[in-house]
Amino acid sequence: MTKVVILKDGILTFVIGPTGPEQRRLANKVMEEALKKARLPFSEIQYIVSTGYGRINVPFSDRQVTEITCHAKGVSYLIPEARTIIDIGGQDSKGIKIDRSGKVLDFVMNDKCAAGSGRFIEVIADTLGISLKEVGELSLQSRHPAKISNICTIWAQQEVAASLAQGVPLSDLLAGIHSSLAERIGRMVSRLKIEKEIVVTGGGGKNRGLLRALSEVLGEKLIVPEEPLITGALGAALIAREMVEGAKRDKMVLKTKERQLEEIEIL
């Protein structure tokens, strides 16, 4: 998903848009929305930092920063006592350790295989024809979570379909899927010596089933920001603001792109 955060003293506006192959166009579209929502002309925006998987595809961004640094900033702005961030997105999942100033101390990432990311659940939910909103809740109703033996997302997808056909209750399958992902994420983040507080961001933060499974695996309680999807964009905005302030301090002029939105057709 494509997110925008416009920052003044606090968060002025945020927009969460769809995602898809046409990242450039989406970036423009979402930015346009955000400006409309904030009732601002584009020229008012001092500095723009883009982040995330498609950070290179934001035509009007002045600087690109990885989501790791941005999540760290964003989360510690919202939850200063956060020391470990677990970001579960559709492209990858990450574990980030930060200090109280929001500086990254260490991080781990999984982006080689969908089975370790939020995509795992998206794909399964899609096969079962259940909306992402429901899967978490449904899984919580499970009495006997099913064991998902396949690691590969696509094979797991078939396993689930087959088990369903054999009459295994939906909730048990979903519970199995959630704990399977939770275990994989748990394995990954355990490589960082986890410290409290632990904050979960990204789409995974909206899935109560996954949160419970994960907190069981880690044996810790988890905190989720009010809007777990925007912490990356927020962090980017915070970095942008710091840069502007920094430049003011050292009496320097920041180079910025021309503030203009274009319509780009790719497909």
Partner: protein, 467 residues
Amino acid sequence: MTEQQKEVKPRKRMTATKAAASIGPLVKEFITETLKARAEGKQKLAYTFIVCHHEEILRAMDVIPIWTENFAGVCGAKRDAERFLQRAESLGLSRSLCTYALCGIGFDQWREELGEMPPDSPWGGMARPDFMISSGQILCDPRSKWYQASQQFMPDVPIYNIDLPYPLFQRDQDHREVWGYYHKYIVKQLRGLVAFVEEQTKKKMDYDRLRELVDLSDRTWNLIDETYRLRKAVPCPMGTGDAMNTMVPICFMMATQKAYDFFVELKKELEEKIARGEGEVENEKYRLMWGGGLPAWYALNDFNYFNSKGASFPVETTYRMVAPLYEMDIPETRDPIEHLAWRWLGYWTFWYDKARKRPGSEPDVERLINWIEEYKIDGIVMHEAFSCRTWHVGLIWQLHQLGKIYKPIPLYVVGKDGKKEVVMKELPSLILESDIIDITSYSEVDTRNKIDAFIETLESYRVNRAY
């Protein structure tokens, strides 16, 4: 991080022989003994590896070996390795490394952190050693790196690393040209081990006792060979499934009377079964060779599955860690250390001469060919354990090479013109893929599906056989 749910325990594997059935308790017994010895503190305990030809030295010095590979295997067989593997991973060790080692290191780290055994450790857990004996060989890197990694969590425990190289097979060179200096080196390495153990135990080596123990294990070697040769009988009285149990005295009890007696018993049992014409399976349809790879310890049931399809395994290349001494041309010596070194070289070069004689052959391939004939083999099954390079690299190539130089089976096929003709075919083969103890790499459904297809393959060979 919290403990993993243990995997559901699989149905107990059925063994064909009483001897094999007696192994479980035996292993539990020697693991318990190490814990008892640890508690009493009278005898020294040493972490160490199988296939180092040093058991005689340890036993002669009353050192109790803790076979770390064995303990990892036990965790695997009990489907309780995952939590230790995850510990190792969280230390930064990659899953792609030897999972025996990961399991061991994970366990050590946990035990040292707690100052006691991790919660409900398999069979009471693995005792803290007084010292560790690793081995640099051209055989297995983890044998030289594992204990070094474990030492991070017990730096006070010293390591002695015996280097035991052997000449690699080179088509254009007779190994006897070089093995002189190999022998010299290995002898010095073994004497170094003796000195190290003497220092650790504050005892002197009793060389007469050492010689007795060496003689004992030599006799055991020959006995094991005679016993296993009995499996050539049709129907086969004992399969690889059982051999994955009877490997225990071979690998962990060498140089003990118990091991010798075990094989006396087993030999008797097999001879009786043969006399009764009793096979591992009811009506033996296919004779297969376990042609490479360590087993998936958590899935030994798959051998029963093979059996249920009329397939028996009269021979395996895995854990046949002995060869008949009377067939080795190694120099006579009464010095036990010198002899151990020669036995080591004799064992590793056992197939070299034969391989050099057959064009395109190579020791591992040569062994396959010989056993295919001696044991009347219909097909080869191998297991590729992703985490272990030592035993699992070169398997694909061995099958390739085998098929290139050795096509024993005449079959009818339909030619281009639609007429049937006879062609010589290589033995059918099956490569199973999973791991020694990492159960997350195993899918029973996939494995059984592959086995079914393989059985169908063997069946079509039977049906289309020309003569």
